[in-house]
Symmetry: C2
């Protein structure tokens, strides 16, 4: 084969474990790629912090991955994508992909006739940034968008509380505006939320289509990287995992979160 395959790893980062839902999708779609995952566990969560702080953290995290000579960066974190991406793109020449644009494109793609009511749920910071609403309006100016922050979903997922009756009730109470007045498509604008997909679907009923951005990110990554992305004959290394805090929590939550993902070793780094 004479294609100019690029054997450098793909860098992927999140404030913590949420981005593992994206990583898992990328592992399935690109089985010959190697990945470096960085979870900024010393400073998780980003979702309640100010734009300036999220920007600073995003640049620091990206700089670490760039020193590992990654061929591209995936911000597998909605808050970092919403608040840190413009600063990050002006900071480096390496291609950078967030989760918001791919998610919006996927939502528009499943809208009946391309027009309809779109809901977005996410953390306080993501919703306050209005990044989804801005991007959706660019794609489909006539679409009707409603946003809602669901800040308790992340702790419910991280604590493995998803199957408790109180969690189902909390999800129903949180989504009440979309139960009273339904949308056609709901974007799960937080990488933790796919873990609650069946509970969210149960609360909203079958008329609302749920879009999680992990699959959309895989498609967008393929487009962005072109022939550089597929390595049909190489052996895939294990993913390399880095965190900024040494707590056993990352491994515990990751195991509960994505039991099929094997994590051999996790290295702690200072940013």
């Amino acid at each position: 084969m004479s294609y100019p395959y690029d054997y450098r790893p793909i860098g992927i980062f999140d404030s913590g474990v949420g981005g593992l839902t994206v990583l898992q999708e990328l592992l399935v779609r690109f089985p010959q790629e190697t990945f470096i995952y960085l979870g900024d566990t010393a400073r998780v969560p980003y979702g309640t912090k100010s734009p300036a702080t999220v920007q600073r953290y995003t640049i620091q995290v990206a700089e670490f991955l760039l020193r590992q000579e990654v061929k591209c960066l995936v911000a597998a974190c909605n808050t970092a994508s919403a608040l840190g991406l413009p600063a990050l793109r002006s900071h480096c020449t390496t291609p950078v992909l967030g989760v918001i644009e791919p998610g919006c494109q996927a939502a528009v793609g499943v809208l009946p006739g391309g027009i309809g009511r779109v809901g977005v749920i996410g953390t306080h910071a993501t919703i306050a940034s209005a990044a989804y609403a801005r991007t959706l309006t660019l794609l489909v100016p006539e679409c009707h968008i409603r946003s809602l922050s669901c800040p308790l979903f992340v702790p419910v997922v991280e604590e493995g509380w998803t199957s408790y009756p109180s969690a189902q009730l909390l999800i129903r109470e949180s989504l009440q505006p979309f139960i009273d007045d339904p949308v056609d498509v709901l974007i799960l604008g937080c990488t933790h939320y796919p873990i609650l997909k069946s509970q969210i679907a149960a609360a909203l009923g079958p008329k609302t289509i749920l879009v999680d951005s992990a699959q959309a990110v895989a498609l967008a990554l393929n487009r962005m990287m072109g022939s550089g992305i597929v390595l049909p004959s190489a052996q895939r290394d294990t993913v390399r995992f880095y965190v900024t805090d040494a707590a056993p929590r990352f491994r515990e939550v990751a195991a509960r979160f994505l039991p099929q993902l094997e994590i051999d070793s996790i290295e702690v780094v200072d940013l």
Copy 2:
């Protein structure tokens, strides 16, 4: 008056807003004192982080307050008290008070006959540190101690979700071990938990006495500082508030948390 009153402020810190329950109690007990409150909001929460990281953050936060020439330091954070206090005490000569010892003394004080079953609830980090169990065992070797982490209580409080039916159900489900097999005294080992006191009491029934450490901290502070603490004639300044992240969240949560506390201005600092 010729007493050697010490007009320097009292430094009080927490990873975020939780310590405001302690500050409020100190404001009531010591109306003539001035206070400096620092919330490490850029790195909140501490409760899910490793001991080494919590120690590092505790020292950095304390150093900031020491530069403001405080006369004593109150760690109004159970996680910092459990994990950071020994390091902090060996780091500085200024008197340091945590919340754990006062809370344990208060619990022992209300035990019928000084003997009985004590429960402790807190964050993952506080419970994993076993700091309460160790301190209680020193005070009352024969007391029977059971600990339980209730990690979802903090986000429920911070999101102002306390009066939702799902929150009451979540509290009941979380405290199930203490409903099935009651304790005589339950220590609320997290400065957020007093906000849920009535819901916790409703779940456990009247036979379990709840101890929140804020009042105990006020008593302990009086003992520790002696005559230096009371300034009967001085005018009290407004509390000075510092945070490490600029998000409006601190003010919002604080207002929901403690509506009677007036916050004029909040300064952002880098540690």
